[in-house]
């Protein structure tokens, strides 16, 4: 193997007067021909900044390389002028970003967008370029490449768009493909396809791939070698099988332990009378132009007191719509939702108020779900105050709740921007609990969090649901997470509830084709996570797949 790219003691720091703490410090790794190097780390670990540095894409005037070297085939890249970079990018490096929609020009046909890259960098005549674009589209396995040449980005699905972006990155036949979280924004089944494709292209073209991700499942799926980063430094690097099965650094072990995996299942809940009964709920969204989307197609579901039900599906499956219908944020077209036998659909705003505090919600985006101008103790106390509790008592209670979710001391007097994503999500949980609800709707409540934080928030959810005898409707796209904390799981697809059963049954013995496909798509399914609770980690892998 020959080293294509060698990074030595690379440091990147913020441009400012006086001394500054580096964002990336002393990072060294090499990328070889014909291999996939995975750079793993949580947000803020410097994994993306490093990749941008070696593409010469650091934001000018904000970040700069303060020390170290980057050598590409023996040529020093640090200190190159932007003109030199122009020749290198595209020809030697291709880059794929996280969000395919923003990487494409929305008003240009996709064939033309790929063609443009060729036109700019090569002397090929139009016909040869056309043939080349077709070939690229075939390489990234786009269906009907001829017809798709003339499509606009909005006409493609997310996965197809990402394929086009990859085709663009590959157009100049680069030696190195840098992919920055290319599958994070995609559904799990699409993610599986894209991962297979990247692996396939890498072997076929013999290029080096730097794959940046936060998901150890994805790593297990495609990595040849792994670099683990944390706070701008490399924690550990080595061959994939070594790190995945015999992690040495404490941080790596902690990360791997936090990966949701191989659910044990909870003890069966004793049959109680159903608390929430959703019966044949139907909702169609109509756009102004008459386009209709059937978001809920006669969905029926019951939730018992103290039970955690997972609602799993890909984007557009209607899972969030169902959650919002329960809380009254969306009114269904027909069907009924009953709490303790009392009908909720069709109530006026005033009548809703009586039931409002029984069903509360934890939102997805920890950065958008708190009012930036309110102290968090006020955010938590607002609900009870609105329901007539005296201010002083509500504030005391709010502080107790914040203490309960791990934000004691003077945390309550601070504003949301002073907290991390995980802490904000704790505030969100405390706010929901403040009204002493009986059902908590958690809409992708942990999806935006790093894996180690995700595990903590899941633990907290488990604890409080036990402590307050709460029912939880846990909405997620991640079957692994759902299987870990739910009693029962409902799988939704295109507005239809396709399968409902005990969490372990769904996970290990799925009945419906679609559920099976979802489970097959889980990244790193073949990798059996080492048991890190005891020192000598086990190597004997037990495949738990279907």
């Amino acid at each position: 193997m020959t080293a294509l790219l060698e990074i030595r003691d690379l440091s990147v720091s913020v441009v400012q007067d006086g001394p500054s703490t580096p964002v990336v410090q002393g990072v060294s790794y090499t990328v070889n021909r014909n291999e996939i190097l995975c750079v793993v780390g949580e947000s803020g670990s410097g994994k993306s900044v490093t990749a941008h540095a070696l593409m010469g894409l650091l934001p000018e005037g904000e970040l700069q390389i303060s020390a170290g070297s980057i050598r590409y085939r023996g040529r020093e890249l640090v200190g190159l002028t932007s003109k030199d970079w122009y020749g290198l990018r595209g020809k030697s490096f291709g880059m794929v970003f996280q969000e395919p929609m923003t990487a494409l020009n929305p008003i240009m046909r996709i064939g033309r967008q790929v063609d443009e890259v060729l036109e700019r960098h090569t002397e090929l005549p139009a016909q040869a370029r056309h043939a080349k674009v077709l070939q690229l589209f075939r390489d990234v396995m786009l269906p009907e490449p001829e017809a798709l040449m003339n499509a606009y980005p909005f006409q493609l699905s997310g996965g197809q768009r990402q394929r086009v972006v990859i085709a663009m990155a590959l157009a100049m036949e680069p030696d190195i493909l840098i992919a920055d979280e290319p599958t994070t924004a995609l559904d799990v089944t699409t993610q599986a396809q894209i991962l297979t494709m990247i692996k396939d292209i890498q072997t076929r073209m013999g290029i080096g791939v730097i794959f940046i991700t936060h998901d150890f499942g994805v790593v297990a799926e495609i990595a040849d070698r792994i670099v683990v980063m944390r706070r701008g430094q490399i924690v550990e690097q080595g061959a994939a099988s070594d790190i995945l099965n015999r992690p040495q650094a404490a941080y790596t072990r902690q990360l791997i332990a936090a990966v949701p995996h191989k659910p044990q299942g909870k003890a069966a809940v004793t049959e109680a009378s159903p608390m929430i009964v959703i019966d044949k709920v139907r909702k169609t969204f109509r756009s102004d132009k008459g386009r209709q989307v059937l978001a809920l197609d006669d969905v029926s579901l019951t939730i018992q007191q103290g039970e955690t039900v997972g609602l799993v599906g890909e984007s557009g499956s209607g899972k969030s719509t169902l959650g919002r219908t329960l809380t009254g944020l969306i009114l269904p077209d027909s069907g009924s939702v009953k709490i303790d036998g009392r009908e909720l659909v069709g109530l006026s705003r005033g009548q809703w108020r009586e039931h409002r505090r029984q069903i509360q919600m934890v939102f997805q985006d920890p950065y958008a779900s708190l009012n930036p101008r309110h102290r968090i103790v006020d955010a938590v106390a607002q609900g009870p105050i609105a329901f007539g509790e005296p201010r002083r008592k509500a504030l005391t209670h709010a502080r107790e709740l914040l203490e309960l979710v791990g934000l004691g001391g003077d945390a309550g007097d601070r504003y949301p921007h002073q907290f991390s994503g995980g802490q904000r999500q704790r505030v969100g949980i405390a706010r929901a609990l403040a009204l002493r609800p009986r059902l908590l709707v958690a809409d992708e409540a942990v999806s935006a969090l790093d894996v180690s934080i995700q595990a903590q928030v899941l633990d907290l959810l488990k604890t409080v649901s036990g402590q307050f005898d709460l029912s939880v409707l846990f909405i997620t796209h991640d079957l692994r997470v759902a299987a870990e904390i739910c009693d029962r799981i409902a799988v939704m697809r295109l507005g239809e509830l396709v399968e409902l059963g005990r969490a372990t049954d769904i996970f290990y013995r799925p009945q419906h084709d679609y559920t099976r496909r979802l489970i097959d798509s889980i990244p790193g399914r073949q990798w059996s996570k080492p048991d890190l609770s005891d020192a000598g980690s086990s190597e004997d892998a037990i495949a738990y797949a279907t």
Binding site: G328, R356, L370, H374, A386
Partner: protein, 279 residues
């Protein structure tokens, strides 16, 4: 707050604007100390050029002191502009908030109403209103406010539309807070910064509008304003340039100052954008 002030001060234009405004305000406040005589008094010979004895900026066709007129005019101009802007901001926020928050039919009706106002040229509407209602300070304020609230209402409506579906607002709905409470404590504070910025720009356009009305002789006949001085001396523009140039400069400086302050406020509220523009 401290950070905000620092961000504001980074914009040099904003500081200049603020200084000019401070000077104009001081001039307005101390007008009667600096010029004890009424600006309507004929204190000197007519057609005195600037820098002549006892009259720094010259006198007008009737021998009234121009400098004194500008100082007293600053009072009226500032008060008129600020009050009419305050009224239209209040109306604009209320209407825009209701339209944006409730949406649906309410929104359609209000937007139709706003569009009705926007199809009529603002200045002509103001002229007609003042002419019908007989010119006085009250009617001028009313006319200016009436023609300047629609753009602000649109702005507030757009802010509310985008805020309404933020998760923290939905959380407030779920926690049973009343609509008024949600509007006042959740959405409004978060959408105030563009309102403040456009408010400061509205003061500038109110000054222009008021001057134009006075120029046409539609100001309050009992008040000395900059527009009035220019209007009164427009027929002798070629013989006595100073009569219209100095009040003109006063209008120019004040309007420019308000614009600079508005821009600096905008930069201070969106520090990221501002830095990009300068680099």
């Amino acid at each position: 707050m401290k950070n905000f002030f620092r961000a504001f001060c980074r914009n040099k234009g904003g500081l200049v604007g603020l200084t000019v405004l401070a000077l104009v305000t001081l001039l307005a406040i101390f007008a009667s100390w600096i010029f004890p005589d009424s600006p309507w008094d004929m204190v000197n010979a007519p057609y005195m050029p600037p820098l002549s004895e006892d009259s720094l900026l010259g006198t007008d066709t009737l021998g009234r002191d121009i400098a004194s007129g500008i100082a007293y005019g600053a009072r009226v101009t500032l008060v008129l502009a600020l009050v009419s802007t305050a009224v239209s901001v209040l109306v604009g926020i209320t209407v825009g908030a209701i339209a944006g928050f409730y949406g649906g039919k309410v929104d359609q009706i209000i937007v139709g109403f706003i569009e009705l106002f926007q199809t009529i040229p603002g200045f002509f509407l103001a002229v007609v209103l003042v002419a019908i209602l007989t010119p006085s300070i009250g009617t001028v304020i009313f006319a200016i406010a009436l023609v300047s609230w629609p753009p602000l209402a649109r702005l507030v409506r757009a802010e509310f539309l985008s805020m309404k579906h933020r998760e923290f607002v939905e959380a407030a709905v779920l926690s049973g807070q009343s609509n008024l409470r949600i509007i006042m404590t959740q959405i409004l504070p978060n959408s105030l910064s563009p309102v403040i910025v456009s408010g400061s720009l509205m003061v500038a356009s109110a000054i222009l509008l008021e001057s134009a009305l006075s120029f046409l002789g539609l100001g309050d006949p009992n008040t000395m304003t900059w527009g009035y001085i220019i209007g009164a001396s427009r027929s002798v523009l070629r013989d006595a340039w100073w009569m219209s140039v100095f009040p003109g400069i006063a209008i120019l400086m004040t309007v420019l100052a308000f614009n600079l302050v508005g821009e600096a406020l905008n930069d201070a509220f969106n520090p990221k954008l501002a830095r990009k523009r300068t680099s």
